[in-house]
Protein backbone atom coordinates (compact mmCIF):
# COMPACT_ATOMS: atom_id res chain seq x y z
CA UNK A 1 0.00 0.00 0.00
CA UNK A 2 1.13 3.53 -0.78
CA UNK A 3 -0.48 6.86 -0.01
CA UNK A 4 -1.64 9.67 -2.24
CA UNK A 5 1.00 12.04 -0.89
CA UNK A 6 3.89 10.37 -2.67
CA UNK A 7 2.43 10.63 -6.16
CA UNK A 8 3.13 13.10 -8.90
CA UNK A 9 1.81 14.89 -10.98
CA UNK A 10 -0.69 16.53 -8.69
CA UNK A 11 -3.99 18.39 -8.58
CA UNK A 12 -3.91 22.14 -8.16
CA UNK A 13 -6.52 22.38 -5.43
CA UNK A 14 -6.35 21.67 -1.73
CA UNK A 15 -7.13 18.10 -0.77
CA UNK A 16 -10.24 17.40 1.32
CA UNK A 17 -9.18 13.78 1.76
CA UNK A 18 -7.09 12.41 4.56
CA UNK A 19 -4.27 10.11 3.56
CA UNK A 20 -5.84 7.01 2.04
CA UNK A 21 -3.88 3.79 1.87
CA UNK A 22 -4.11 2.32 -1.59
CA UNK A 23 -2.50 -0.42 -3.56
CA UNK A 24 0.03 0.24 -6.25
CA UNK A 25 -1.60 0.78 -9.64
CA UNK A 26 -2.32 -2.25 -11.75
CA UNK A 27 -2.54 -1.48 -15.45
CA UNK A 28 -4.72 -3.54 -17.76
CA UNK A 29 -5.43 -2.42 -21.31
CA UNK A 30 -6.42 1.24 -20.98
CA UNK A 31 -7.46 1.00 -17.34
CA UNK A 32 -5.71 1.36 -14.03
CA UNK A 33 -7.01 -0.45 -10.96
CA UNK A 34 -6.29 0.35 -7.33
CA UNK A 35 -7.63 -0.92 -4.05
CA UNK A 36 -8.43 2.01 -1.77
CA UNK A 37 -9.04 1.78 1.95
CA UNK A 38 -11.68 4.24 3.10
CA UNK A 39 -10.36 5.78 6.31
CA UNK A 40 -12.29 5.29 9.51
CA UNK A 41 -12.25 9.02 10.17
CA UNK A 42 -11.19 12.39 8.88
CA UNK A 43 -11.80 16.08 9.31
CA UNK A 44 -14.75 16.13 6.93
CA UNK A 45 -15.78 12.53 7.13
CA UNK A 46 -16.43 12.58 10.87
CA UNK A 47 -19.22 15.08 10.36
CA UNK A 48 -20.86 13.27 7.45
CA UNK A 49 -22.96 12.31 9.31
CA UNK A 50 -22.22 12.27 13.06
CA UNK A 51 -25.01 9.79 13.79
CA UNK A 52 -24.63 7.78 10.59
CA UNK A 53 -21.04 7.92 9.29
CA UNK A 54 -20.93 7.62 5.51
CA UNK A 55 -18.06 8.45 3.18
CA UNK A 56 -19.18 11.64 1.40
CA UNK A 57 -20.32 10.85 -2.12
CA UNK A 58 -18.49 13.82 -3.60
CA UNK A 59 -15.27 12.27 -2.34
CA UNK A 60 -15.71 9.49 -4.88
CA UNK A 61 -15.38 12.21 -7.50
CA UNK A 62 -12.32 13.49 -5.63
CA UNK A 63 -10.84 9.99 -5.72
CA UNK A 64 -11.56 9.79 -9.44
CA UNK A 65 -9.62 13.04 -9.92
CA UNK A 66 -6.71 11.71 -7.86
CA UNK A 67 -6.58 8.40 -9.70
CA UNK A 68 -6.79 10.18 -13.05
CA UNK A 69 -3.23 11.23 -12.36
CA UNK A 70 -2.22 7.62 -12.95
CA UNK A 71 -3.24 8.12 -16.57
CA UNK A 72 -1.82 11.52 -17.44
CA UNK A 73 1.61 12.50 -18.63
CA UNK A 74 3.98 13.82 -16.03
CA UNK A 75 4.08 17.19 -17.78
CA UNK A 76 2.34 19.44 -17.04
CA UNK A 77 2.77 18.76 -13.37
CA UNK A 78 -0.32 20.51 -12.04
CA UNK A 79 -3.86 19.71 -13.16
CA UNK A 80 -7.14 21.49 -12.50
CA UNK A 81 -10.51 19.78 -12.25
CA UNK A 82 -12.81 21.67 -14.60
CA UNK A 83 -15.80 19.35 -14.79
CA UNK A 84 -17.52 16.62 -12.88
CA UNK A 85 -19.54 15.45 -15.81
CA UNK A 86 -21.35 12.74 -13.93
CA UNK A 87 -21.39 11.24 -10.48
CA UNK A 88 -23.64 8.34 -9.59
CA UNK A 89 -23.87 7.05 -6.04
CA UNK A 90 -25.52 3.65 -6.02
CA UNK A 91 -24.97 2.64 -2.39
CA UNK A 92 -23.47 4.30 0.69
CA UNK A 93 -19.76 3.72 1.29
CA UNK A 94 -18.83 3.20 4.91
CA UNK A 95 -15.64 4.08 6.77
CA UNK A 96 -13.25 1.15 6.97
CA UNK A 97 -14.35 -0.49 3.74
CA UNK A 98 -12.04 -1.30 0.84
CA UNK A 99 -13.08 -0.30 -2.65
CA UNK A 100 -11.71 -1.47 -5.96
CA UNK A 101 -11.42 1.53 -8.24
CA UNK A 102 -11.09 0.99 -11.97
CA UNK A 103 -10.21 4.16 -13.85
CA UNK A 104 -10.21 4.57 -17.62
CA UNK A 105 -9.22 7.49 -19.79
CA UNK A 106 -11.97 8.32 -22.27
CA UNK A 107 -10.07 8.83 -25.48
CA UNK A 108 -13.24 9.47 -27.48
CA UNK A 109 -14.54 12.40 -25.46
CA UNK A 110 -13.86 16.03 -25.94
CA UNK A 111 -12.39 18.10 -28.72
CA UNK A 112 -8.70 18.09 -29.53
CA UNK A 113 -7.44 19.96 -26.54
CA UNK A 114 -5.09 19.34 -23.72
CA UNK A 115 -7.74 17.97 -21.41
CA UNK A 116 -8.25 14.52 -19.97
CA UNK A 117 -11.63 12.84 -19.48
CA UNK A 118 -11.61 9.98 -17.02
CA UNK A 119 -14.14 7.41 -15.78
CA UNK A 120 -13.87 5.66 -12.44
CA UNK A 121 -15.98 2.74 -11.32
CA UNK A 122 -16.04 1.99 -7.59
CA UNK A 123 -16.81 -1.55 -6.50
CA UNK A 124 -17.20 -3.25 -3.14
CA UNK A 125 -17.01 -7.03 -3.13
CA UNK A 126 -17.67 -7.06 -6.84
CA UNK A 127 -20.72 -4.81 -6.65
CA UNK A 128 -20.62 -1.33 -8.14
CA UNK A 129 -21.32 1.32 -5.50
CA UNK A 130 -20.63 4.38 -7.62
CA UNK A 131 -19.23 5.88 -10.79
CA UNK A 132 -17.62 9.21 -11.56
CA UNK A 133 -16.69 10.97 -14.82
CA UNK A 134 -14.42 14.01 -14.59
CA UNK A 135 -12.40 16.33 -16.80
CA UNK A 136 -8.97 17.64 -15.89
CA UNK A 137 -7.02 20.36 -17.69
CA UNK A 138 -3.54 21.71 -17.15
CA UNK A 139 -3.71 24.41 -14.51
CA UNK A 140 -2.79 27.81 -15.93
Amino acid sequence: MTTTAARSPRLGHASPLTEMPMSDPSYANDAVVRLVEIPAGGAYQDSHFPEHPIFPGVFLAELCCRLALDLVDHAPAVWAVTQIRALRLVAPVHPGETLEVRTVRDAQAGPARNSVDVWSTFSRDGTVVGTAYVTLEPQP
Binding site: A14, Y44, S47, H48, F49, E62, I84, P92
Partner: protein, 173 residues
Protein backbone atom coordinates in the same frame (compact mmCIF):
# COMPACT_ATOMS: atom_id res chain seq x y z
CA UNK B 1 -46.24 23.76 9.45
CA UNK B 2 -43.11 21.60 9.63
CA UNK B 3 -40.06 22.43 11.71
CA UNK B 4 -38.15 23.23 8.55
CA UNK B 5 -40.74 25.52 7.02
CA UNK B 6 -41.26 27.38 10.29
CA UNK B 7 -37.53 28.02 10.77
CA UNK B 8 -36.05 31.39 9.89
CA UNK B 9 -34.09 31.06 6.64
CA UNK B 10 -30.89 32.40 8.20
CA UNK B 11 -30.63 29.46 10.58
CA UNK B 12 -31.94 26.77 8.23
CA UNK B 13 -28.48 25.24 7.70
CA UNK B 14 -28.56 24.02 11.29
CA UNK B 15 -31.28 21.59 10.25
CA UNK B 16 -28.97 19.70 7.90
CA UNK B 17 -27.74 16.40 9.34
CA UNK B 18 -24.09 17.33 8.77
CA UNK B 19 -21.71 18.04 11.61
CA UNK B 20 -19.80 21.30 11.82
CA UNK B 21 -16.80 20.18 9.74
CA UNK B 22 -18.89 19.19 6.74
CA UNK B 23 -21.57 21.86 7.06
CA UNK B 24 -20.79 23.97 4.00
CA UNK B 25 -23.76 26.34 3.98
CA UNK B 26 -23.54 29.22 6.44
CA UNK B 27 -26.81 30.96 5.79
CA UNK B 28 -29.86 31.07 3.57
CA UNK B 29 -30.35 34.55 2.18
CA UNK B 30 -33.64 34.04 0.40
CA UNK B 31 -36.09 31.21 0.06
CA UNK B 32 -39.16 30.60 -2.02
CA UNK B 33 -40.33 27.16 -0.88
CA UNK B 34 -40.73 24.70 -3.68
CA UNK B 35 -39.05 27.00 -6.20
CA UNK B 36 -35.69 28.61 -5.43
CA UNK B 37 -33.16 29.51 -2.78
CA UNK B 38 -30.04 31.62 -2.37
CA UNK B 39 -27.50 30.41 0.16
CA UNK B 40 -23.96 31.46 1.04
CA UNK B 41 -20.81 29.92 2.44
CA UNK B 42 -17.61 31.70 3.36
CA UNK B 43 -14.58 29.61 2.46
CA UNK B 44 -12.39 29.87 5.51
CA UNK B 45 -8.62 29.49 5.47
CA UNK B 46 -8.88 27.26 8.53
CA UNK B 47 -11.04 24.66 6.79
CA UNK B 48 -9.39 21.24 7.06
CA UNK B 49 -8.63 20.98 3.34
CA UNK B 50 -6.20 23.88 3.65
CA UNK B 51 -4.21 22.37 6.51
CA UNK B 52 -1.31 21.44 4.24
CA UNK B 53 -1.04 24.93 2.76
CA UNK B 54 -0.31 25.55 -0.92
CA UNK B 55 2.91 25.56 -2.91
CA UNK B 56 2.11 28.92 -4.47
CA UNK B 57 0.46 30.37 -1.36
CA UNK B 58 -2.95 30.47 -3.04
CA UNK B 59 -5.40 28.15 -1.36
CA UNK B 60 -7.66 26.78 -4.09
CA UNK B 61 -10.90 25.30 -2.79
CA UNK B 62 -11.59 21.73 -3.90
CA UNK B 63 -14.29 21.61 -6.60
CA UNK B 64 -15.78 18.59 -4.84
CA UNK B 65 -16.40 20.61 -1.68
CA UNK B 66 -17.95 23.37 -3.77
CA UNK B 67 -20.23 20.73 -5.26
CA UNK B 68 -21.04 19.44 -1.77
CA UNK B 69 -21.92 22.98 -0.70
CA UNK B 70 -24.24 23.34 -3.70
CA UNK B 71 -25.81 20.01 -2.82
CA UNK B 72 -26.45 21.07 0.76
CA UNK B 73 -28.13 24.26 -0.46
CA UNK B 74 -30.30 22.13 -2.75
CA UNK B 75 -31.15 19.81 0.14
CA UNK B 76 -32.33 22.77 2.20
CA UNK B 77 -34.59 23.88 -0.62
CA UNK B 78 -36.07 20.39 -0.77
CA UNK B 79 -36.46 20.20 3.01
CA UNK B 80 -38.39 23.47 2.94
CA UNK B 81 -40.88 22.16 0.40
CA UNK B 82 -44.27 20.80 1.31
CA UNK B 83 -43.44 17.46 -0.33
CA UNK B 84 -40.42 16.68 1.83
CA UNK B 85 -40.93 13.67 4.05
CA UNK B 86 -39.33 14.19 7.42
CA UNK B 87 -37.37 11.69 9.48
CA UNK B 88 -35.21 10.82 6.51
CA UNK B 89 -31.64 11.78 5.70
CA UNK B 90 -31.26 13.64 2.40
CA UNK B 91 -28.37 12.18 0.43
CA UNK B 92 -26.82 13.03 -2.90
CA UNK B 93 -27.56 10.36 -5.50
CA UNK B 94 -26.48 11.69 -8.88
CA UNK B 95 -24.80 14.75 -10.34
CA UNK B 96 -24.77 15.78 -13.97
CA UNK B 97 -22.93 18.58 -15.67
CA UNK B 98 -20.93 20.26 -12.90
CA UNK B 99 -18.59 22.83 -14.40
CA UNK B 100 -16.00 24.87 -12.56
CA UNK B 101 -15.77 28.17 -14.42
CA UNK B 102 -13.24 29.87 -12.17
CA UNK B 103 -11.13 29.10 -9.12
CA UNK B 104 -12.43 29.63 -5.61
CA UNK B 105 -9.97 30.68 -2.93
CA UNK B 106 -9.92 30.87 0.84
CA UNK B 107 -11.72 34.03 1.88
CA UNK B 108 -14.21 33.94 -0.96
CA UNK B 109 -17.91 34.02 -0.20
CA UNK B 110 -19.65 31.59 -2.53
CA UNK B 111 -23.30 32.26 -3.19
CA UNK B 112 -25.45 29.44 -4.56
CA UNK B 113 -28.61 30.09 -6.53
CA UNK B 114 -30.61 26.88 -6.56
CA UNK B 115 -33.75 26.07 -8.50
CA UNK B 116 -35.92 23.08 -7.71
CA UNK B 117 -36.67 21.20 -10.93
CA UNK B 118 -38.60 18.31 -9.46
CA UNK B 119 -39.72 17.50 -5.96
CA UNK B 120 -41.28 14.45 -4.36
CA UNK B 121 -41.50 12.90 -0.93
CA UNK B 122 -38.40 10.76 -1.34
CA UNK B 123 -36.40 12.47 -4.05
CA UNK B 124 -35.76 15.88 -5.52
CA UNK B 125 -33.85 17.31 -8.45
CA UNK B 126 -32.33 20.77 -8.62
CA UNK B 127 -30.04 22.88 -10.77
CA UNK B 128 -27.69 25.51 -9.40
CA UNK B 129 -25.17 28.20 -10.15
CA UNK B 130 -22.52 29.64 -7.86
CA UNK B 131 -21.08 33.14 -7.81
CA UNK B 132 -18.22 34.90 -6.09
CA UNK B 133 -18.53 38.68 -6.03
CA UNK B 134 -21.21 38.48 -8.71
CA UNK B 135 -19.09 36.38 -11.08
CA UNK B 136 -20.27 32.88 -11.88
CA UNK B 137 -17.66 30.35 -10.83
CA UNK B 138 -19.60 27.10 -11.09
CA UNK B 139 -22.81 25.59 -12.38
CA UNK B 140 -24.48 22.22 -12.27
CA UNK B 141 -27.18 20.96 -14.59
CA UNK B 142 -28.77 18.59 -12.13
CA UNK B 143 -28.40 17.33 -8.59
CA UNK B 144 -30.59 14.43 -7.56
CA UNK B 145 -31.05 13.76 -3.87
CA UNK B 146 -32.86 10.86 -2.28
CA UNK B 147 -34.10 10.40 1.25
CA UNK B 148 -32.85 7.43 3.21
CA UNK B 149 -34.44 6.24 6.41
CA UNK B 150 -32.05 6.30 9.36
CA UNK B 151 -32.61 2.55 9.83
CA UNK B 152 -30.95 1.96 6.46
CA UNK B 153 -27.80 3.79 7.49
CA UNK B 154 -24.93 2.64 9.70
CA UNK B 155 -24.98 3.78 13.30
CA UNK B 156 -21.92 5.67 14.53
CA UNK B 157 -20.74 2.64 16.51
CA UNK B 158 -21.49 0.05 13.81
CA UNK B 159 -18.84 -2.06 12.12
CA UNK B 160 -18.14 -1.33 8.44
CA UNK B 161 -21.15 -2.19 6.34
CA UNK B 162 -23.38 -2.79 9.33
CA UNK B 163 -26.57 -0.77 9.33
CA UNK B 164 -28.47 0.47 12.35
CA UNK B 165 -31.09 -2.25 12.03
CA UNK B 166 -31.71 -5.15 9.65
CA UNK B 167 -32.38 -3.93 6.12
CA UNK B 168 -35.91 -3.99 4.86
CA UNK B 169 -37.14 -6.45 2.28
CA UNK B 170 -36.93 -3.87 -0.48
CA UNK B 171 -33.35 -3.06 0.54
CA UNK B 172 -32.33 -6.71 0.27
CA UNK B 173 -33.98 -7.11 -3.12
Amino acid sequence: MSAVRSTAPAVLPQLLPHGAGMLLVDRVESLTPGRCLVAAHTVRADEPCFAAGADDGRLRYPPTLLLESMGQAAALLWMASTAYQHEQVPMLATVRGFRLLGPVFAGDVVRHRVRLEHCGQQSAMASATTEVDGVRVAEVESLLAVGRRPAELPAASAAPGEVASPPTKEKRA
